[in-house]
Symmetry: C2
Subunit: 315 residues, 2 copies
């Protein structure tokens, strides 16, 4: 299953070129913090991590953190630090995900394992994961740190749980719609939820955490459905799921909701049904976003509206 | 190059069965902290990490943290938390190291990648790395956290630098004694230095950090030499380094100091020379240990004496 990495729906109004450049500088500073020690020789993992960050991406998690932090009245420096922590972590997960999935390219460029080898990819992911915690420790509000760290670890553990469910799933079958949703919401939803949740914790808005998480989980499922509708032809050619009606053992390596629905004899039109489930989850996500305090969910809400329009385009 | 993982020289007087059991319980609690969320289905990475911790090990980093914390007057709860953080991190590094080196066994049991597969090994290492930061965030003294986190990240980055130098080294040649020392002190010394350093930072004994690091670095080099003397026959059969005197390109995949010295035409007896360098570094390490405040370096000093006796046994 793909991760939420190439979402083309981020509202540009939330992140200017200047703020992206500032975020990238901050991430590099954190990354290179450790590189001033020890030997002056360049470290391959640092080189690989820098290369990975330079390939860009849309910084969706940064948008979510910057928007929520601003709405919730956090100090700008802390808001930027939260954004950097979330992006460093997300990029760590992408490097290890590409290795898991043997994806040779990311953002149109060779992926880390493909360019630098498996060992450097493991090291570069570890380095970015560690750097994301270093970033979080640079917040001015030290009293909040235990709660922030506990939240970050919990979401990392959730993403790992999703990754493991995906690994396990690809070795066993058949997969149900519930399995699909569970993988999407743990694997992608966890790290998508984190930026808003961290901002809420830093602002001591604890009662809103549940809704923030529900919003991100529902959005992650809807996004995955959108992605599966785009990729269904390609996935079908790699992934001939045998019909459940034939009572044959399913043998699939790709998790695509349209293919799962097609294998269900009660489903008349898998694409229509997938689109319907996607729109239902977008509606849940948008509703949860509007419940968040001080408009802190508006950036994710804008993404819901854009994804809604994109989903509506599918026949 | 092997890591400092099977050191048989830990002074048993520093760690009772009860304290090992308490440490293991604490590590499991931290690890399972995140597992009470999300789906009730078991997560393969959690299963693998629990299995890895259950295989034991000598908890050398825990001994160092517990001893230093006690001498420096830290609250017992914080001292145990530091020990748990160091052991979780060390075990994370072992899981990823075994994958790097394709070592099929660890502590007499199948290694994680060998038993659960590469993907689960990456996830389990990531989970333990994240859990080590969670552990550190549970210290009572929140004001010290930024310094403690910065130190932990710096040592992780150093260990990664050593790992990358080792990867790079195995693709290029010839290797020098300086390369060997640099790999040993970054790859193994960094995480061995961390327990004492964290205790010193928590006790605000900042001026002693440099000596703590020098002690661990010198000890790590001496230990690696001891390990290489034990393994030289096995390594030589895998690793025929051509003599530099023949001006042929070296082609080695194993980094063993005896083999490096054998390739030097000026070296009369490589084993004797390796032993001499090892004893020199042990002397440096022991001296640095005695400079640490309030006997906080005594546990490492005891390990130096034991390793000295073991090195002296080599002809």
């Amino acid at each position: 299953m793909k991760t939420l990495n190439d979402l083309h729906i981020v509202s540009k109004s939330h992140l200017t070129h200047e703020s992206i450049a500032a975020l990238d500088r901050q991430m590099l500073e954190i990354l290179l913090y450790s590189d001033s020690f020890d030997s002056p020789a360049p470290c391959l993992a640092v080189t690989a991590a820098k290369y990975h960050l330079s390939t860009g991406g849309q910084r969706i998690r940064a948008v979510l953190a910057l928007h929520a932090g601003k709405c919730l009245g956090l100090p700008p420096k802390d808001t930027h630090t939260l954004a950097a922590a979330c992006e460093l972590l997300h990029n760590a997960s992408l490097i290890h995900d590409d290795l898991h999935d043997r994806d040779t390219h990311r953002r149109g460029q060779p992926s880390i394992w493909y360019k630098f080898g498996d060992e450097v990819a493991i090291c570069a992911g570890d380095l970015l994961l560690s750097a994301s915690y270093l970033a979080l420790s640079q917040l001015a509000d030290v009293a909040s740190m235990p709660k922030l760290f506990a939240l970050m670890h919990t979401r990392i553990a959730s993403a790992i749980r999703g990754q493991c469910a995906d690994i396990n799933r690809s070795k066993h079958g058949p997969i149900t719609i519930d399995d699909f949703k569970n993988i999407a919401l743990t694997k992608s939803g966890a790290l998508l939820s984190l930026p808003t949740e961290l901002a809420l914790v830093a602002a001591k808005q604890y009662p809103s955490l549940v809704r923030a998480r529900e919003a991100a989980a529902a959005f992650a499922i809807a996004y995955q459905i959108h992605d599966d509708l785009v990729d269904v032809e390609a996935d079908a050619s790699r992934n001939p799921i045998k019909s459940l009606a034939t009572h044959q053992t399913a043998n699939h390596t790709v998790c695509n909701i349209v293919l799962i629905l097609q294998a269900d004899p009660h489903c008349v039109d898998a694409r229509v049904e997938a689109k319907k489930i996607g729109l239902q989850h977008l509606s849940l996500a948008a509703s949860a976003c509007t419940d968040l305090p001080l408009h802190s969910g508006d950036a994710l809400h804008a993404m819901c509206l854009q994804l809604h329009d994109e989903l509506e385009c599918f026949e």
